[in-house]
């Protein structure tokens, strides 16, 4: 009886080892693009969004907003995603309380969408601390955005800083967002 238990444990361990080696083989083909970007975003709530493509690491023209060429749009402190209410794509987002470098896999599910203009995937105010006195928006440290892009690729992104573009007068015209991201071009969820 005891022997049987030992042998079944041995088989189980062997099976786990083989499974592990399988996934290790997969990991070899990871192809990630790592970037740090600085993007200018309109301050006024009546001005156009700035659209961004992770794949091309570039700003997408507003005329292209009806395509799947962009993944997220940003205006003031408002994120929109290319899906549901705002675009034809399949973009979704998760805001995770994990240090950027510690995020190694994108979750299988749980991605949020903009279901209405007032029900956005990324809630305004959820990712920054606003200082009423200095009017500074400080992205909370230790938070990582995980995006599924418009064309179903996975990205992890960290907002590093939000600064005001130097301006004359009181109301700023643009905000400068600094962020870094890792884009998994293979379509896999590992980073």
């Amino acid at each position: 009886m005891k022997k049987m238990i030992y042998s079944s444990v041995a088989i189980a361990i062997a099976a786990m080892l083989t499974l592990n080696s399988c996934s290790k083989d997969d990991a070899v083909v990871i192809t990630t693009i790592q970037k740090t970007d600085s993007v200018k975003v309109n301050f006024s709530s009546n001005s156009p969004f700035t659209f961004f493509s992770f794949k091309n690491d570039a700003i997408v023209a507003n005329s292209d907003s009806a395509s799947t060429n962009w993944d997220f749009g940003l205006r003031f402190t408002t994120f929109i995603l290319n899906s549901h209410t705002y675009g034809p794509g399949n973009a979704g987002a998760i805001l995770q309380n994990t240090i950027y470098s510690n995020v190694t896999t994108a979750p299988d599910n749980g991605y949020a969408y903009d279901t209405a203009s007032s029900q956005k995937a990324i809630k305004d105010g959820s990712w920054y601390d606003y200082n009423v006195a200095t009017h500074a928006f400080a992205p909370k440290a230790g938070q990582t955005f995980i995006f599924r892009t418009a064309d179903n690729h996975y990205v992890k992104m960290e907002l590093l800083a939000v600064d005001y573009e130097p301006f004359v007068g009181p109301a700023p015209v643009r905000l400068i967002y600094r962020f870094r991201y890792t884009y998994q071009s293979s379509g896999a969820k590992n980073f």
Binding site: Y100, Q119, A138, G142
Partner: protein, 724 residues
């Protein structure tokens, strides 16, 4: 160049002091001044000798105030061990303008809003975001300032968590006519006149003060002055009347008005525009007290106190004189109270009091005028189970129309193993009612567009915003329409310490304290936004913090003409929830330069912002043989303190988040003439410490001259006792 100048000043001051020492050594030793038994009323609500009080107490007498030469109460208070002049945590100095909420006294590491400020035992209204403008209290007629540390809620109710500062004005006890002129840098003028007439049965004191300042400018590149010019008037009349041998009436009225002249830049449709205008503060009070001693054991005191405060601020666009902004705050309080004192021996008294508050408040940022009432009852009993052991037990119940009844007890022990040593221990609870702003604010920022709603306005505000289409119809606001009223903030405070008169020349006070505060009220944002994508904020009870530390004060007579006072406070004040989150690995910082993220370690956490771990004060007083020449030098050290977060974790954990420690050095000399004339001259902030960005409330070096004249002395025959 600057540094050299500083060295010269320090060197000069040191030489002067040495010289004074030597001159006086040569003189004959003179008889020590008679030590007067200091009495304090604040600690127990009855007059009591300082040695018998079982809680930490500090007294600033009239003579001390005179020696500082200062006309500002805040300057006098911040020279005491453990009292720090700190900015209001709600605001921040910005773009060359000081913190709009001003600064106040931080005691035992608690913000200024947690210290109750009394004038002749009664509270002042009109706090701006928790801060009471101490400039409203004229210094010229203060008899003494009593500072009680540790919770005093069991006697005084709300706000007395850190302690109480009771400013007691002069008793009209002798005929006098005083004239004082104060002239200082920044075009500052102070004019004081007082007159006391005393008869057998009655005494009347009239007091008037005019004080004006031209303000100062720490940064010429920024439009307008850093601190705006202002002018204020104080009037007070006090009548003491002995109706019969057992009955005394004390009546006083007070009026304060201040006009501040504002001139600054605003931005309308992206263009800078100069505005000017003024803010007008008015503060009045009427205080009546009737005391009747039925017999040696029974004393009844009835009081009726009324006070009102109003602040109207209006600014106009300079170009066309059109109204730009108008705001106001009005407050009114009526407080009848009855106190019965039973017991023959001063140390075995039973005090019981009942009272009622009726209060109204109206402000431009609130939806409408609010009215409240509260009823309270307090009692305190003292025992002397042993000859040298005093036990005091007290408790107070407050029933307020806005929140549930608050019960606050206090136990204090004083043990006197020798006549020179008093060992004290006390524990008590305290509470602070949610302030009006946290409850009633209804305010939308016109520039950015966010909305702040007080907890009691949340329901109305959300419905209104939704009706106006400012909240999307799809948003479910129903979870926020339930009762969101705030609980009072609560604390438990413990004090242990001793007062030790080691010798006639050496006195040591030592106190260890710990305050645990729960239900601290903080701002949060609702999980949905307005249609303009801006947040809605409200208030909720969340934080738990503690403050603990030790204060030591040594008073040493160095020689027959030189006194040294030294004080030091060690402070540790932290947010317990932050400590827990750090422990859970939930606090992450991100370096603003390298953008490297990392978990915050417990040892990196510097505690609550705006608090110095170390603060100290030093005072050296010289007086010559006949007391006609006095000199005083004092230094106030404020150790480094947290200013604001820079690394995205909202807590103090980085060296770059601190303001460097600094020293304020003051010195003055005064000469008293036999005819009642007294002249004093000196300088404050001699080292000229300035920080236009982080300490705009601190003006640079200033100089002053004070002249006072006692007309009664001039005309009286007895001219010997010149210092009285």
């Amino acid at each position: 160049m600057r540094k050299k100048q500083k060295n010269i000043i320090v060197f000069g001051a040191a030489t002067l002091l040495l010289a004074l020492c030597q001159v006086s050594f040569a003189q004959k030793k003179f008889n020590d001044t008679i030590t007067i038994r200091e009495t304090v009323v604040t600690a127990t609500r009855t007059e009591k000798s300082i040695g018998d009080i079982p809680v930490p107490v500090q007294v600033i007498g009239r003579k001390y105030i005179q020696q500082t030469g200062s006309q500002k109460l805040s300057d006098i208070l911040q020279q005491q061990a453990g009292l720090v002049l700190a900015d209001n945590p709600l605001g921040q100095s910005l773009q060359g303008y000081p913190n709009p909420f001003g600064s106040g006294i931080q005691m035992q590491g608690l913000d200024p809003a947690y210290t109750l400020i009394l004038l002749d035992g009664e509270p002042l209204t009109g706090r701006n975001a928790g801060i009471l403008n101490l400039g409203r209290i004229a210094v010229g007629n203060i008899q003494q300032i009593e500072i009680i540390k540790g919770p005093a809620t069991s006697l005084y109710g709300s706000d007395a968590l850190a302690g109480v500062i009771n400013i007691i004005t002069e008793k009209p006890d002798h005929n006098s006519t005083l004239l004082k002129v104060h002239r200082a840098s920044n075009n500052t003028w102070g004019l004081t006149a007082s007159n006391t007439i005393k008869t057998n049965k009655a005494a009347l004191e009239l007091f008037a003060n005019r004080y004006s300042s031209g303000g100062y400018d720490l940064d010429e590149n920024i439009y307008g002055k850093t601190a705006d010019p202002y002018r204020n008037y104080s009037f007070a009349a006090k009548l003491f009347y002995n109706i019969d041998a057992r009955t005394e009436l004390r009546s006083s009225v007070r009026l304060f008005t201040q006009k501040q002249f504002n001139n600054y830049l605003v931005y309308t449709s992206n263009q800078p525009e100069a505005v000017d205008g003024s803010s007008n503060e008015t503060d009045w009070s009427v205080n009546n007290q009737l005391q009747h001693r039925f017999n040696q054991k029974t004393n009844l005191v009835s009081r009726l106190y009324l006070t009102g405060y109003r602040d109207n601020a209006t600014v106009y666009l300079q170009k066309n004189d059109s109204l730009f902004d108008r705001s106001f705050l009005g407050q009114f309080l009526v407080k009848p109270e009855l106190q019965l004192e039973l017991g023959k021996k001063q140390n075995e008294q039973l005090i019981t009091g009942i009272g009622y508050n009726y209060e109204t408040i109206d402000a431009s940022r609130y939806a409408s005028e609010k009215q409240f009432n509260s009823f309270y009852i307090y009692s305190q009993k003292e025992w002397l189970p042993l000859n040298n052991l005093n036990i005091t037990i007290g408790a107070r119940m407050d029933k307020h129309s806005l929140y549930k009844a608050q019960f606050n007890p206090k136990l204090a022990l004083a043990y006197k193993p020798t006549s020179r040593l008093t060992v004290m221990a006390s524990v008590g609870t305290g509470f602070k009612a949610p302030d009006f702003r946290q409850q009633f604010l209804f305010f939308t920022n016109s520039l950015v567009g966010y909305t702040l709603l007080g907890a009691n306005e949340l329901n109305n505000g959300l419905i209104q915003l939704k009706q106006q289409g400012q909240i999307d119809p799809s948003v479910d606001i129903s979870p926020y329409l339930t009762d969101h009223s705030l609980l009072p903030e609560r604390s438990v405070g413990t004090n242990l310490g001793f007062r030790w008169n080691y010798s006639n020349d050496t006195k040591i006070n030592f106190d260890v304290f710990r305050n645990d505060i729960s239900h601290l009220i903080d701002r949060y944002n609702l999980p949905f936004t307005k249609t303009n994508n801006q947040s809605i904020y409200s208030y909720v009870n969340v934080n738990r913090v503690y403050t603990q530390g030790a204060t030591v004060n040594i008073s040493q007579k160095l020689c027959s003409f030189l006194n040294l006072d030294a004080g030091y406070q060690y402070l540790d004040a932290k947010d317990k929830d932050v400590l827990q989150r750090i422990k859970d690995g939930a606090v992450v910082k991100r370096d603003p330069v390298t953008f490297q993220s990392d978990y915050v370690k417990a040892k990196e956490y510097g505690g609550l912002f705006n608090r110095s771990k170390h603060s100290a004060n030093l005072q050296l007083i010289y007086f010559n043989k006949h007391h006609w020449l006095n000199a005083r030098a004092s230094a106030v050290y404020r150790g480094r303190f947290g200013y604001s977060d820079i690394n995205g974790d909202n807590i103090l954990d980085d060296d770059r988040e601190y303001v460097k420690g600094y020293v304020l050095l003051n010195a003055n000399v005064s000469i008293a003439f036999r005819n009642g004339l007294r002249i004093q001259t000196g300088s404050e902030n001699i080292l000229d410490h300035e920080d236009k960005d982080k300490l705009p409330n601190l003006s640079g070096r200033t100089f002053f001259v004070n002249c006072s004249l006692d007309l009664n002395k001039i005309f009286s025959k007895n001219k010997n006792n010149i210092l009285q």
